[in-house]
Amino acid sequence: MQGRFERDPEVVGKVIDGEAIIINLATGMYYSADEVGAFIWTLLESGHNLAEVATQIAARYDVAEDRARADAEPVVLRLLREGLIRAAQREPDPAAAAADSDERRAYVQPSLEVHRDMKDLLALDPPMPALKRNPWERS
């Protein structure tokens, strides 16, 4: 896994305060990741390869680089399998790895949570498009 990656064009994602939500618009699947997982996403979608991801994790979190790589690789593989990232030929965006503090943060093993049933859950309870007035009030 030497190559660089980028976000698949059918995917939208956002990271706020160390939390990521990613949606595959083609499949309707939702994903979430916390802290280290969200950081991995930020780095991958901005063109970093696995080795660079491990280096950046070790710089930001209190973890050795080889452990960071061993933990990051299954997340990267999962993102690839789920069609959320794809191989890219590009230089990484260094801003994605910019540290916001000199202090290394506590490390938690990264994971990518898959929410396969969101489409089904949303379909089970369709909204009431025909609702024009409040039926609880007298007309």
Binding site: I21, D117, L122
Partner: protein, 376 residues
């Protein structure tokens, strides 16, 4: 106790979950609980915050961000939910039903000290038993799993046996409508389909079953009380079956007026694909109407076949036609079933008992929260 009810749908939406909550929560406020509801905005403009019956309702754009596939909106709402739980610090978080918007609440549940009560309102589907499904996640995370019917509780316990000692049933019911039941009308006989006009309710089956009935009994009328995505297709089907002029479409009916609408019916039809324990069946009982419904899920726990109504096989038009014909050919039997349905609901679906059961469960959850908080 401080109770935070997370209910994706609440008034102004109309459905079983909403009707139950609308009656139950003010009743529990009278028992001394402090209750807030967190719910979703919908298609009509309603306030972000309002109160009714002593319950504070807060609305957020959950469905908008989920259906709009807006990750930034979702993350911002997650942050607001975390902040809200910190501010309220509820003793009990009541997850009222399984919903997509729980995705926005999941992170806020971590680290908070209240007891989590998950309520299941309908059948659990096979995909909901997967380990990473919302149902499985929440059942694992919850301190108690409550079902509105035995049928769904059995499914939940099969999906996750560990919930056995922390799960129970409080059978669905509603307070008696403020209407006295009138005699069943047979001139003309009228069948009522009450509920969302959605694929789940399968009211197309009711139309297909009614068509041959109307050939033999041309005076029969059909009333559809509700609205939804399926309405155009249902109206088109009625036309193609040649029975459009026998059908009346009321749209959404104010829940307080439901008893009056049911009084217009000889019997009610509910050919649903899936259910929990449908409140419309309880309402039919309160108004002394027999119900013809599919032999599924919690429907079997409210309708006693041949005694208080008739049960038909799922997706079976001929079975439903035969049931409707029976009601018309044997009016005395139909009246008997109507009276029996009222007596059954009065005896077995008592509203005060239901409120007392929820009160007791909330207090039990409160003890869990107190133990978690430790001595003050």
């Amino acid at each position: 106790m401080r109770i935070l009810v997370f209910s994706e749908y609440f008034r102004p939406f109309v459905g079983g979950i909403e009707v139950l909550a609308d009656q139950l929560l003010p009743a529990l406020v009278k028992k001394g609980h402090e209750i807030q509801v967190v719910t979703s905005h919908g298609p009509i403009a309603v306030p972000d915050e309002e109160s009714f019956g002593g319950v504070l309702v807060r609305r957020y754009p959950f469905r908008t961000v989920l259906e709009g596939k807006d990750p930034e909106g979702m993350l911002l709402l997650r942050g607001r939910m975390r902040q809200l739980l910190r501010e309220i610090d509820p003793d009990v978080i009541h997850l009222n039903g399984l919903a997509g918007s729980h995705l926005l609440l999941l992170p806020a549940l971590s680290g908070q000290r209240g007891a989590i009560l998950l309520q299941l309102h309908q059948r659990l589907f096979e995909w909901e038993a997967a380990p990473d499904a919302m149902a499985s996640r929440l059942m694992k995370r919850s301190d108690w799993v409550l079902s509105v019917c035995n049928s769904t509780l059995v499914q939940a316990r099969q999906a996750l046996p560990e919930i056995e000692p922390r799960s129970s049933v409080i059978r669905n019911t509603v307070a008696a409508p403020p209407f006295d039941p009138t005699p069943l009308p047979f001139m003309p006989p009228t069948f009522l389909c009450l509920g969302r006009l959605a694929a789940q309710k399968q009211f197309d089956l009711a139309l297909r079953a009614a068509a041959p009935v109307l050939k033999r009994f041309p005076e029969v009328r059909m009333i559809f009380a509700g609205d939804g995505d399926e309405k155009p297709a249902l109206q088109a089907l009625a036309s193609s079956l040649g029975i459009a002029d026998r059908c009346e479409w009321l749209g959404w009916v104010r829940p307080a007026d439901i008893g009056g609408v049911i009084n217009r019916a000889t019997a009610m039809i509910l050919p649903s694909r899936w259910e929990g324990l449908p409140l419309v069946a309880v309402e039919a009982g309160w108004m002394g109407r027999p119900m013809v419904a599919t032999r599924i899920d919690g429907v079997r726990e409210i309708i006693r076949d041949g005694e208080t109504g008739l049960l038909t096989e799922p997706d079976n038009v001929d079975d439903l036609t035969a049931a409707l014909l029976r009601l018309l050919e044997r009016p005395e039997d139909t009246r008997r079933m109507g009276a029996a349905s009222r007596a059954w609901v009065q005896r077995e679906f008592n509203w005060d008992d239901c409120v007392a059961a929820y009160d007791a469960l909330y207090r039990r959850m409160g003890e869990i929260a107190r133990a978690r908080r430790g001595p003050s």
